[in-house]
Each structure stands twice: as C-alpha cells, then as structure tokens.
Symmetry: C2
Subunit: 308 residues, 2 copies
DNA sequence: GCGATGCGGTGCAAAAAATGCACCGCCCTC
DNA sequence: GAGGGCGGTGCATTTTTTGCACCGCATCGC
C-alpha cells in the first residue's frame, strides 16, 4: 500500500535512530527521507523526533503516531484478508509468537494441518520469551501468542488455557528414571541443566525451590530447550521441559516424568491476543483450531505422550 | 493529511454513485480519479465498486475498506488532538449528534461553558433522530450522541443516562393548564400537535396510547419541536416535549406539565459513544462535563424548570 | 587544539508520478 | 437510431519526489 510509505520511513528512522542510517535501509537518499519526514511533521502539526547531535529519537508525539500507524496497518491487512476471504480465496497471513516448547511438535503439526485445508495462508513464527511475546502483540508484530506462564500485561486477552506440568527429562539409565514419582528435592539433589530466568519453567522451579528453602543451581544454564533435550544425552544430568515440548523418541533412550504436583504446581500454557483487537480472518480461524487442539491435548493425549 | 487522499476520493465516489460526479465534487478530471481508483484496486487486490451502466456502487469489499478508512481517519484525528494536547495547546474538535430537545437550552449552554475553558476547541452539532444518531457514531461522523430513547444498536455504548418525563406544552389559557395532574387520556381527548413517528417522544406516546386502546391523532404532525413549541401559541392545542427542551419564557404565556408517570413512563435521555472506540481528548473531556451536567440536572433543576 | 567524521538540513536539476485533454466503446433512454 | 451519460485510455503537460553536491554544526580522537 503506497499511502503508508511515509509511516514506513518514520518507523525505519525510529528503529535506526538516525535518518541517514534509515535512508540506507530504505534504499533512498538521506535528503529524500529528511524532506519526507519534515514535510509530514509540518502537515501533522508537531515534531515526531527529538533532534540530537548524534541522530534522532522518537518523542512522545512520535510514539503516539507510530502506535496509530501500527494499528492502522494491522487493520488494513485484516480488511485485505477479509476481502480475499469473501472472494473465496482463503488467502492471508498468520503471525504467531510462541514459547520454544511449541516448536518441535505441537506448532509444526498444527500449522501443517491448517495449511492442508488453506494452502493460500502463510505463517510467521516468532520465538519469544513470555515478556517479549506480549510486546509483540502490543506492537502488532504478532497476531497471536502461545506462551507458557505469560507475565499478563493489561493488553493481553486470553483465548484458551491448558495446564502444563513441568517434566524431568533424562536418560533411561539415570537413577531417577526408575522412580514412580519424582519429587522436586530429588531433582535439586542431582546435577541438572535448566533454562535461564526469563523462561516460565525456570520461574516455576525457582519459586517452588525457594518455598522449600532450596535453590536451583544448574550445572548448565541455557536459553535453548533444544540444548537441554540434547545435553542430557551427553552428560547424565536431568533437564526440565513442559509436556507439550516432549515426545518419546521411540528408542527408549530418553525418559520424561512429571514432577509431583504438590511440589511444583502445573503452569499454564496460554493462547492469547491483544485485547480488543479484531484479528485477520486467517489468524482468527487458526486461533480457533489451536484452542480446539489444545483442549484435545489437555483432555486425552497427555498420558500417552509423557509416558516412557 | 495527504496520504489519505485516495480514500477521500473513494468516499466521494461512493457518495456520488458515479466517478464523473465525484470528480466534479473533488475538482479534478474524471480521468485522474478513475485512474487513482483503478490503481488502488490493483494494489489492494480487489475491486471496490460494481461497475453498472449508470455508474458505480460500492461492493462489500468497498464497504469493508471504507469502514477501515473511517476508523483510521478518526483515530488519526484523535492522535493529532492528543499530541496538540500534550504540547499544552488544548486544541481539538468535538462532533456530537443530538436530539432536537437539546438544541434550545442545554447544549448551547454546555458548549459555551466548555469553550470558556478551552477556546481552542471547536464543535460540530448534528441534529439527528434516534436511528440516525447511532449511524453517525458507527460511521465515525460523530464522536458523541446525546439522544432521547435511542434504538440501542449493538455498537452503542452508554456513558450516562437520565430519565426524562414527557411534558405537555400549552398556552396558559388552555383548559388543561389548570389541572394539577395531567393524565394521558386528557391529552388525547383534546386537539394536539405531535412529532412524527421516528422521534422518541412520539414512540412513547404511541406505545402508551395503544396500551389504553387509544390512538395519538395529531391535528398537526411535524419533525420540528421548534414548530410544536411555536404552534401552540397560534392555535390553542397542546404539544409534547421532554423537560430538558423546555424553559419558562418568563412572561407566563406558556405552561409545561409532566404527564402522569403511571400513564406514560419517563423515557431515557442517553449520552453515548461508539462501543470500544477511543475518543479524542476534547470529546472525551466534553463527555465527562456533559455527564456531570446531566447528573446535576436530573438531581435538582427539574422542578424549577418545568414549573409554570 | 584541530582535523576528521557523522549528523540534519538545503539548492538545484533530473526523474517519476499525477493530472488534464481529447477521445474511445458501451449501454440506456428517448 | 441518435444522443447523452457512463467508465476507461493514449499522450502531452504539470506537479511532486528524488538524487547529488554541499552547508553548518557538534562530537570524537589524536
């Protein structure tokens, strides 16, 4: 859409912090960009940037305008999708911010299933921790968020919730693998690899450990759950992950066990959107499918998938 | 704002029903307009108009887009107002759709009071019946609506309500003027002038009359309450109006009396906006003032103003 | 202390986009 | 079947936008 080009430039300048850098990003000369910005500021009736010696920075007017622009752009895309939809094309785009646990099994399966019915719909999947996911929604960067234990900002609107107990991941020959029930203290007594503090799983572990006057002290701390799943094969430590991110590899090499609920209450896996926003048709429909699948998952498949 | 010019043209075409007429309205040639529309349709990915031999008409894609555009424009104006506000200018514009009863006394007084504090704020006052007022909100033509007995569409969000009994308006020498209490049947027994069916006052009268197996049969029916107030001076009939639209002229020539509540329950005067919409600062503040004034009015001044 | 560097901004000419004019084919009306 | 109104198009013109060269200014590094 051509009429929003000036806004694209404003956004680029805000991101780059400098008109010249932004001009390079947009493949135009600095002078052209400077004049567009200045002309728009004149028409708009207020400056959007503070001019600093080292460049420019959005002022509050600019922040307000940028937010308006993002809302406008997102709404226009929604309308465009709606129009394509009513002409029977079933086109559209879904952008979703999600926690890492969804990446290996759940989300690929869901996206593939959706695309089987609607091949014209494309997807963006953004891996975000729980705080970033909500920022993504607020800035219209993502339509949907599927996150474990979100921070719950005011603009987060919950579409569906399922409980997710934290599981222990370990090799089949780990001493704890034989236990029928795994207590939190057992986990903390043996060497463990854990995600860093910004993730929901770690947050729950830290909280529960403090309650028992213990501390989570991982031998390896990482931001990648993939790393966790693979590391336990190399050194015989235990890792942590929520059930939906785990599936039996089939060769019996890895074992998952939920941690006793009295020690560590299950966290929530939450599907949400930005409060009050009208989603594009494709995103709205995908959200419905996700909610249904989550419901099925919570109802039936937990045992099968978390068993050894 | 320049970047929305194409939308202005689309709106003009939709209104005119013909590209050539719209081009004249916009003071450009038909060819320029045709090409802008066609180019936009290409970029957008769908036609916005049905091409008929006699001209063009919006299709559903066009309707969707036009709604998006109106929302966008209104939001941009809101942002502009907010920015002006944070620079301390207190500029802005308030557009309000209201029933006729508010025109003679209440609204002028409120607007003047608001403008005394904020001289930079301008107003548009649109006289609308109760159905039109809600359409105005839905199409972003008005920020606020102050209407008697609205039809209550889904997108109408109530900000404040006060009850308004229907009053009888008559010359001081009318036989009913001497009564302490006026019954509905008394009104229907004597010649009367009444507003037409689309107004709330008439709606209440019709409903109550039917309940008593009577009919409202006015000697004059009009769309103007001004007409009603003045006509009763020339022929000795009774008229109807809600209290807020009446004030004693001071010379004792006219008399107002509420109709007995057991015959005709009081209607509601409602201040509202479009559901979920973020109002411009000026409109939001004016709405707060209106709500406060309505509350005061309902609490205290009714007796004084409706008395002879 | 003093160039060197990077910043936003400006004058001017070239390039690109939008517009106006004349005109086409079409359909309906009279 | 002629006339008028409709949307649409080729082409020259006008308007707008862009690129290039350059300015004044502040900062940083030596």
């Amino acid at each position: 859409m051509r009429h929003l080009q000036t806004f694209l430039m404003i956004e680029a300048v805000a991101r780059a912090g400098s008109m010249r850098k932004a001009a390079e990003d947009m493949n135009i000369t600095a002078s052209a960009l400077v004049r567009r910005i200045n002309r728009f500021e004149d028409e708009f009736g207020a400056e959007l940037f503070e001019r600093l010696p080292s460049g420019v920075r959005l002022n509050s007017a600019g922040e307000l305008l940028l937010h308006h622009y993002r809302a406008t752009r997102s709404d226009l895309l929604r309308v465009q999708g709606q129009v394509a939809d009513l002409s029977g094309e079933r086109r559209g785009h879904v952008s979703i911010a999600c926690s890492q646990a969804l990446l290996p099994y759940f989300l690929p399966q869901e996206i593939a299933r959706y695309r089987a019915d609607h091949p014209g719909v494309t997807f963006s999947v953004h891996v975000r921790d729980r705080a970033q996911a909500e920022q993504d929604l607020a800035s219209y960067s993502s339509d949907l968020a599927l996150v474990f234990e979100p921070v719950y900002l005011v603009d987060f609107e919950v579409l569906h919730v399922i409980p997710q107990p934290v599981h222990v991941v370990m090799r089949a020959d780990h001493p704890l693998a034989a236990r029928l029930e795994i207590r939190l203290r057992d986990c903390l007594d043996v060497p463990h690899i854990a995600p860093s503090a910004k993730f929901g799983v770690r947050h729950l572990l830290d909280f529960a450990a403090r309650r028992g006057s213990r501390r989570v002290s991982p031998v390896v701390e990482t931001e990648s759950f993939d790393m966790i799943r693979h590391y336990v094969r190399h050194e015989n430590v235990i890792g942590f992950q929520i059930g939906i991110g785990l599936r039996d590899p089939g060769d019996g090499s890895l074992v998952f066990r939920p941690i006793a609920e009295r020690d560590l209450p299950a966290g929530n896996l939450i599907l949400g959107q930005m409060r009050g926003r009208a989603l594009p048709v494709a995103s709205a429909r995908f959200a419905v499918q996700l909610a249904a699948s989550l419901k099925d998952y919570a109802a039936g498949d937990v045992v099968e998938r978390s068993g050894a």
